[in-house]
């Protein structure tokens, strides 16, 4: 029986995550005065793409084909350690947040490799930018999780978020507030959202993430889109667990609240994207350094308590 709940959670994440980009798009459309795409647009897209036959450039090798598959598998594997509503998933062990970080790193690495494999100048440019920003975003994320580990005294993701209660918020509010802010910035940057990147841009020169996947088509593009949705869910759920430390005891109630919270996150991201402008490319590192500074501050605060 103990396998049922994690399995349900896992399946719920797999199924619900493509909903988030839909919600964000609807919110942005609302702010832009449009009706916007249907909420389930990503599901339709994925279905359509899976039916298509991929087209490959002659310069590409197996690396290009392996990229999306490995990337999405890394993310699917990462979901296994991701807590759901403060509860552990399938896997949980000491230091699993480092495992999560490396899986994310792997996904980024294969995406970049696939982009470089095309030999296109645009994709190389995108890959270079992606890595440049990762240099700042990854330490911010890592330090943030480390600080959280210090706050809660746990070193597994499920342990950390499980131990987060309202009491900890009362005593360590400054640290947790800093962490939340840092995670939010990392979420925006890692998921190529405004102000770091614009997912709707059509100008290759200003793209960061989107430009890397220009050459992918068919099921592979579907993997990439699905992977992006999973990644959004992953970061979103960390923040949701952070600001929603309520444990009512009932699993169903918790889960429902958590899913609502995730939808709320998506709305919040949509609102944020609508009200702030995209940063100039050279300023994006400043944003990420700010996130890094927040995490570092939180860690220093926590160390000296």
């Amino acid at each position: 029986m103990e396998i049922v709940k994690p399995l349900t959670q896992y399946l719920a994440v797999m199924l619900l995550s493509p909903l988030l980009p839909g919600v964000i798009n609807r919110v942005k459309a609302f702010f832009g005065g449009r009706r916007g795409q249907p909420l389930l647009q990503l599901y339709f897209d994925l279905y359509k793409l899976f039916l298509k036959t991929p087209v490959y450039s002659r310069t590409t090798t197996w690396v290009f084909k392996a990229g999306p598959v490995v990337g999405v598998s890394a993310l699917v594997a990462a979901l296994a350690v991701l807590p759901f509503a403060g509860r552990p998933s399938f896997l949980t062990f000491e230091g699993d947040f480092i495992f999560l970080l490396y899986l994310l790193g792997l996904a980024r690495f294969v995406t970049v490799l696939a982009a470089l494999d095309t030999g296109s100048a645009f994709e190389g440019m995108g890959a270079s930018r992606e890595m440049q920003f990762a240099v700042f975003a990854e330490p911010a994320f890592f330090l943030g999780l480390a600080a959280l580990a210090r706050v809660t005294g746990q070193s597994s993701l499920a342990g950390m978020f499980g131990a987060l209660t309202g009491d900890i918020w009362r005593t360590a509010a400054p640290v947790l507030a800093l962490l939340t802010a840092s995670l939010l910035i990392v979420l925006l940057a890692e998921n190529s959202r405004v102000p770091a990147d614009d997912p709707n841009t059509h100008l290759e020169l200003t793209m960061i993430h989107e430009v890397m996947v220009l050459d992918h088509s068919g099921p592979e593009l579907a993997y990439i889109l699905y992977g992006a949705a999973l990644k959004l869910w992953l970061f979103g759920s960390l923040i949701a667990c952070m600001v929603l430390p309520r444990h009512s005891g009932s699993w169903a109630l918790n889960s429902a609240l958590f899913i609502l919270m995730m939808l709320g996150m998506a709305v919040a991201v949509g609102v944020l994207e609508s009200i702030i402008a995209r940063l100039r490319l050279t300023k994006v590192p400043y944003l990420l350094i700010t996130a890094f500074a927040f995490s570092a501050l939180a860690l220093i605060f926590q160390m000296g308590r």
């Binding site: 005593t171 509010a173 400054p174 507030a177 350094i289 700010t290 605060f301 000296g304 308590r305």
Partner: protein, 221 residues
């Protein structure tokens, strides 16, 4: 625990970081004003129980001076100077913020080493020390005369917070004298900035380099 006071301390540190990366002069002025106001309110929140009348009066004076009068004066100096409205740092913003962070780490170390009386608000000593350091950073790595005045004010804020941390109660007369001095300092500096901008057509202090013993070849002519 004084969670609220701690939040304010964190806010002060974030303002330091923000000052290190803000490029526009007017936002810098606003940030410094905000820091002054927050620091002025701190004693009301940090103390236990109802604050003294004296503390309230003093806080009100500080908030008015630092929150309204100084920004007004500096904004006027900025407008009159007709200079470019950005900060023009001598080092890059990421370098500034990393220096700030490093300063914070160093000041937390220093704060734990100093044999100070135990403060009841966590982080108040490192926050004040790193604020002072940010002030020095603003003075040394920004080329505008206004940012140097801002740096001076930030140092003053830091010292004020440090004073709170040490619970050094000064007589009201002395505190008011100190505040008056700071006020006159900003006033005189504002006038000086006005003159600099009129004489030199800019307020870039990097150009104020005629008087020196090092450039001997050019000195004098």
């Amino acid at each position: 625990m004084h969670t609220f006071a701690e939040l304010i301390i964190v806010f002060v540190i974030l303002l330091d970081l923000a000052l290190a990366v803000t490029g526009s002069l007017s936002s810098c002025i606003r940030l410094v004003a905000m820091q002054g106001v927050v620091a002025g309110l701190l004693p009301l929140l940090a103390g236990s129980g109802a604050p003294h009348t004296r503390a309230v009066i003093f806080a009100v004076v500080i908030v008015i001076l630092k929150g309204a009068v100084f920004p007004r004066l500096l904004m006027r100096a900025r407008d009159k100077s007709g200079a470019r409205k950005d900060v023009e740092p001598l080092i890059s913003y990421p370098a500034s913020i990393l220096l700030c962070l490093g300063a914070f780490i160093a000041s937390s170390w220093l704060g734990s080493r100093l044999p100070l009386p135990q403060a009841n608000v966590a982080w108040i000593v490192p926050a004040s020390l790193s604020t002072i350091f940010t002030g020095f950073l603003l003075i040394t790595t920004r080329s505008k005369a206004i940012t140097q005045v801002l740096g001076y004010l930030v140092i003053e804020n830091g010292i004020y917070i440090f004073g709170l941390a040490l619970f050094v109660e000064q007589p009201l007369m002395v505190e008011l004298a100190i505040l008056l001095d700071v006020f006159v300092a900003v006033f005189v500096m504002g006038i000086a900035i006005f003159h600099i901008s009129r004489e030199f057509d800019h307020i870039d202090t990097a150009e104020l380099s005629e008087l020196s013993d090092w450039r001997r070849g050019e000195y004098g002519k």
